[in-house]
Symmetry: D2
């Protein structure tokens, strides 16, 4: 058994790591950190985990890292760079925040409005999208596990840009995401009475995750790519769906995705013309992708779905950790989706 | 008081007509028809209306049309053409179905897969979108009240095409709609357990309401226009939102919408950069429109919302009927949205 | 037109007062107070009201009360006593908080854990349940408008205790309420991700609204009555339902309710054996009541529903204000429920 | 590996059996039957299971039972008796319907309105509640796996009746259940637009599951017991909660439950005064129980929650099958709840 610590255990992604690791055959939770709730039992913070024997929540500095093989960081954005910098040299880290996802600290500073706090560590961080960076992740010390928005769009679009089957200058990604992506902090805008039975777009043209699309799509195209991307808030807890409007041959697009993901255990390309539902991946690490043609020749619509807390956060993190620790990449992650 | 009959009173749009007319100062419900539920009290079919004194549900042929000033048809698509053809000559009809919305019977046959059953009546039908056809509606015998998908897209896009401020060949309409638009018939796909906590696209590239976009946008452009349009099902009862991706100057687009709708009582253009929410129009006849710029120069995103059962169905119908009967166009329709 | 001010306009009950008064024929909103949001337009705080011409939000002390005929107080519990005490002598107040509902200041101190701040004013306050205190409300200066939990239970049980058709010592009130009753303040427990798709009981045996049941049921019985009452949180925005388990003859119980409410415009007693739904009163001032027998002779179950923000808060307030101002009690309140 | 067949695989409980068995270490799905969908792939009927290699759906009579160790019957009520009667002698059956739960065929005929079709088989059926009938289940040929309503009430009340710490003549069980309990058949009353954002009681005093309470509580008391029980429909997919009002000493009640379930792997008794949430057991086989005192001495409220599709259906079935096949009772069932 490999011993892991979870920093940020009082948030949704922290709890989801615990849920997944609870039935993982080779990981053991040795420490849980949550500064605001230090001293509490996990069952007080997340009663759904009360059947598990778990360490008491502690402050990060109270944790004995000597026995830990890997740290999961599930802290809010903009707090992780300092925390990771303070870890013992060589401690392996799977980070679920956005803090190490942008390779260029200047780009980070532009989108996040503050200087990067650990540019030297950034240089050794690997973008944590196993389907694209599997080999580098195996040996990385710091993995910046990809988040839900970026993962959904990249799974749908990157193979198509790489294969040259779509026009990279004419991509529209219309994305819809469930509320758990906003985390557990108390905000008026996330109250049930505000969110349920309603729908809206936000941060049009200014969403920070554009930076990750820019970074990854430029690699795929070998030149800058600037997509259009709008995020919307769905009145549901889990699930993210990207509707991607592209120019390119629909059958070629379907073939490119099917071929690219044929050997991937978590990516399922539906038969041509079928559309995926977020409800069909809920609670699981699976991604469903669909391709449809349009009535206009040479245009297609690609739809991708995943569970933002699993394949878009904690499941992605466990998958990265499996690679980092030399385990079977799918260990603990083959749980079937929960429907209805 | 003008006496009206409602055909199709056991469906959601029929019930919504009753709700709106219940506090309308100049309309009175004289007859309610619902073949499958004929003989029932409305309170048995829709207990939320039990405080009202309403006529018993009857079969259409049982209704004495002699005293009726106007018939609202809220029947399923593909059943209305015959029903309207059988009405006494001169009976005024406000139809909420799609049966008379397409001016060209050939186009109807193409999209609906059956020949038009009343092409002569089609010739006298007026497309029931008051903000664009107000004067013709006033004198029309048959008004084909615009539905929710078409209305939402047309409110957002038609003024921009007319004003020449967007490229009509590069319009993407990504539309999300609540489940009440699917009506009250029992279908597995519309069960709570199927719909809630999930989201998906449907009918990509093949949605019938493309035909209405084609018809109305061609009029606006003076030439054929073929938009891209994808519909999605939202896990909420009411509300429809269209995210429209266009090429054009964002400020000019905002100005064009603001000017076009400045005198319209139900259309509200938000300050530049703000985004509308479906929850802020729920239960009302209002439309909220927002325009945002993108990071790419010369591109903008327009978002429109309305309540699919009110401004997208029964409120639109009452507004048309107000015009047809020479009443104040807003009579009975100034109810404030219900939030939360 | 009677001019009214609303204190606490940035909360849900404040917004709901505005919604109802927007189409009220004889009330006009002359001032809106909300200390935290003073200086804002109402449309910024509640975009669903943006079609209305409303005064800007102000601090209470900025409001000129000279022109005001009545103040609606929709402030949080425990802040109203001081606010009302500071009003000009004679200003009529319809208070939606719990601050003046308990006639005995000692009882208030017991349940709310703080001394009453205005016991002299308490002496002139009238319990604001029009169906039971109509005549006293007409002439009261301060009306303590009844809240959602108490109203639901009292509508179901008080006539039965008065009529002597149930055993007052064996009443169980199992109550379920929507989340809007918790208000708009940001709390982790009220986030969409916490509330939706789940259900729980809270404050068993200790809920403050027990005090109102004690007060009102003792009046009905002529002796102390101590019911059992458990509140639960429903994953829906609006609606409250009380399932009341009583000992007594089911038909006599149904007859007692039907007779007691026969002339009440907002109370609807369903045919014997039918059960009411919260969805059938949503957005309206109506109450639906049902009585069913049990398989055990001499036992019955009474179910009552209302919309917690309307008949359980702001509609109740408008109804009280109508009485206080000598208007038709139903003015502005006959809006039909919004379903679905 | 033990090979199992699932009859009724196109319903929610059938799909949930597949989900649970997918990660079960010792069960293998050898056949799936669903008459209406025979010939389809499971991925067409339940796309969330598309990652699994599963047998094609077949008609029951097409299935080769020679290799099957156990049949799960997840058929609608009133169809199972004939199906089981037609199975080869000795075939072990874990039945999720109500068809074999009532020991007395006369009682069955009374509550279900039709004669029992297989009274001889009934005599060998064992009531499938492992926490109470573990030893008999191990050797039974037919196990009538307990359903969600009965399980929730029995878990809360039976130990208290057995221990003599509550008055069995004064029990009220107020139960609230999620919509998935109604199954996947298309009914108007179960549409999203009908169910969401609303709540109601149904079948007051006449619910069929009263028969199971009568049967099991009489065994516990040694004499007839007749509880009051009302079911309500929650606007959520999964979860069932019973609020039980009893007379008895609260601490003694808590102690009796804690002692009775101390060794049970799936039953968790919360600390005194805490209340369980349905959301904290979602997707899992766990039951959470809470006991609170009331302000009246000698009265207590017991609340129990479970997931109706897992511990109230398919998880219960797998637990019974584990016992029947001599496996670890918890095999495949320790999945942590999915929250949020």
């Amino acid at each position: 058994m490999h011993k892991v610590a979870i920093f940020g255990a009082s948030g949704y992604t922290g709890a989801e790591l615990v849920r997944l690791i609870a039935t993982h055959p080779e990981l053991e939770i040795a420490a849980l950190a949550a500064d605001r709730r230090a001293g509490s039992e996990m069952a007080e913070v997340f009663p759904h985990l009360r059947h598990l024997a778990l360490p008491r929540l502690a402050r990060i500095e109270e944790i004995d890292l000597g026995e830990i093989d890997l740290v999961f960081c599930a802290l809010p954005h903009a707090t992780t760079q300092e925390v990771v910098a303070a870890l013992p040299a060589g401690m392996r880290v799977c980070d679920l925040s956005a803090d190490f996802r942008l390779e260029d600290p200047e780009v980070y500073a532009h989108w996040y409005g503050r200087p990067h706090q650990a540019p030297a560590l950034q240089a050794e961080a690997v973008y944590g999208l196993p389907e694209f960076y599997r080999e580098r992740i195996r040996t990385a010390r710091i993995v910046a596990s990809t988040g839900c928005n970026a993962a959904t769009g990249i799974f749908a679009m990157r193979p198509l840009i790489e294969a040259g089957v779509v026009d990279p200058d004419e991509i529209v990604i219309d994305l819809k995401t469930g509320v758990s992506g906003a985390g557990r902090s108390a905000k008026e805008a996330m109250l049930h009475a505000e969110v349920s039975e309603g729908f809206h777009a936000y941060n049009i043209g200014r969403h920070r995750h554009l930076a990750e699309f820019d970074q990854e799509f430029a690699k795929a195209a070998g030149r800058p790519v600037s997509v259009r991307f709008t995020a919307h808030l769905l009145p549901q807890n889990r699930g993210i769906l990207a509707t991607c409007y592209v120019k390119g041959d629909p059958q070629a697009i379907h073939a490119a995705l099917a071929e690219r993901y044929a050997a991937e255990p978590f990516l399922q390309v539906l038969p041509f013309g079928q559309t995926p539902h977020t409800r069909h991946v809920r609670g699981s690490n699976f991604v469903h992708l669909g391709v449809s043609d349009e009535r206009q020749p040479g245009r297609a619509t690609v739809v991708a779905v995943l569970d933002n807390l699993v394949k878009g956060a904690s499941g992605m993190g466990v998958q990265n950790a499996n690679l980092m620790l030399g385990l079977d990449e799918t260990a603990g992650l083959m749980l079937a989706p929960v429907f209805p």
